[in-house]
């Protein structure tokens, strides 16, 4: 954790003045748990940060989800150039309370914007993304039947903000299709004996109540390679953008059944700093 605070400080002190903030407030969205710019659970098509045209941006985030028997902490950084390319890194720490066990995963991500603009283009903004994931210690996932300790997710994401579309309020939606073998996002390893990668659908939608305040819901479909009755995930969130330097997200999450333990609902909090 002190590592991340150090990183925050370095970025804030040294790089603050080099970066511009050409996007409209809230347009970059927040940071999802695997480190990509997005909502909380779902990567969106938007490139991280406030950079446009010939600008750069660097962001850092920390998120924590606490449900009945598990807790996930995810912290990381994003770098983006020209509002075209995003690179991200996230470190996840997953606490399994019943076993007093910690599982750690590293995720390196990249996203490239193909076409469109979130607000101004007629068609949605489209992006392609990839997330390379690797577990520190796969012993427990292997014991549960996982085949691999690392895996790669590919996704295509589309999103659009419709000005004034919901009774005068702005309406945002994002749809992501992800090809993945990950069990519980990779925290329980990748694949199993015979299972191949599958396409999964992820959806987010939000109403922008105020330029600085978004209220939304998310849904993330997940495979069940380990045949542990793995659940789809969902959440309802509120995200606050007091300025272009920081955002805070609070969500109620329903993670369903994790490793056969039912009723994994709870709270999620996330902060992103934008430089």
């Amino acid at each position: 954790m002190s590592k991340y605070i150090f990183l925050f400080t370095i970025l804030f002190l040294n790089i603050n003045s080099l970066y511009s903030k050409g996007k409209l407030i809230a347009a970059p969205g927040v940071s999802q748990i695997e480190g990509s710019a997005g909502g909380g659970l779902v990567p969106w098509s938007g490139v991280a940060g406030y950079a446009t045209d010939n600008e750069y941006s660097a962001n850092a985030f920390c998120s924590r989800a606490i449900v009945e028997d598990f807790a996930l902490t995810s912290c990381g950084i994003q770098f983006s150039a020209y509002d075209q390319i995003e690179l991200s890194y996230a470190k996840q720490l997953f606490r399994v309370h019943p076993l007093a066990l910690d599982l750690e995963q590293n995720i390196t991500g990249a996203k490239i914007k193909l076409t469109g603009d979130l607000i101004y283009s007629k068609w949605p903004m489209l992006s392609l993304g990839v997330q390379f994931k690797k577990l520190d210690d796969p012993t427990v996932p292997f014991a549960l039947g996982a085949a691999k300790r690392s895996g790669t997710d590919f996704y295509i994401a589309a999103s659009k903000l419709h000005l004034g579309a919901l009774g005068g309020y702005n309406w945002l939606w994002n749809t992501t299709l992800r090809r993945t073998k990950a069990n519980e996002m990779g925290l329980l390893g990748f694949g199993s004996g015979t299972k191949e990668a599958k396409w999964m659908a992820e959806i987010s939608t939000a109403i922008i109540l105020d330029p600085e305040l978004a209220l939304g819901i998310e849904f993330r479909e997940k495979p069940d390679n380990l045949q542990l009755d793995e659940s789809n995930w969902s959440d309802i969130f509120i995200a606050w953008f007091p300025n272009k330097n920081v955002s805070a997200t609070l969500a109620y999450v329903d993670l369903g059944k994790i490793a056969t333990i039912k009723g994994q609902t709870g709270w999620y909090m996330s902060f992103t700093g934008y430089w």
């Binding site: 600008e55 101004y120 579309a165």
Partner: protein
């Protein structure tokens, strides 16, 4: 539309607000001629104080700009005006306005509407009418 009216009519509490907004043009919700003039004047004042984009306007004839913007806002909001000025492309050719500057002008316009007490939903609706013009404004 019809169904929605039936729905709202059965709930008298919504009746007054919806009965008026349904028929009103965006022009009227912006406060008509007076409201639009206020928005334009606020925007001119905001641009005048702005470090990032003032240079685009340094040689602008203010009264010509004021008249043109008033007409334009009146026209796009379904008011009783016809914009007869130069095309958006002609006006912005040679300025090479980038996306960042364009968004900054949007921010100044939002501030101008805030200062004119235009509510957020009406602000969004005006922005929705203006958004398609971006392609005619940037990178020329």
């Amino acid at each position: 539309m019809v169904d929605e009216n039936i729905y709202f009519n059965s709930y008298p509490i919504f009746l007054s607000s919806c009965a008026t907004t349904k028929k009103e043009t965006l022009y009227k919700r912006l406060g008509g001629k007076e409201g639009i003039e206020k928005i334009t004047d606020n925007l001119i004042k905001n641009i005048g104080k702005d470090k990032e984009i003032f240079h685009y306007f340094a040689k602008t004839n203010i009264s010509h700009f004021r008249r043109g913007l008033n007409l334009h806002l009146c026209d796009v909001s379904d008011g009783p005006c016809r914009y007869d000025g130069d095309s958006m492309v002609d006006i912005h050719t040679g300025m090479n306005i980038n996306k960042s500057d364009f968004n900054h002008l949007v921010e100044l316009l939002i501030n101008a509407m805030e200062e004119a007490n235009v509510n957020i939903r009406t602000q969004n609706q005006l922005l929705a009418r203006l958004a398609p013009l971006r392609e005619q404004v940037i990178h020329h």
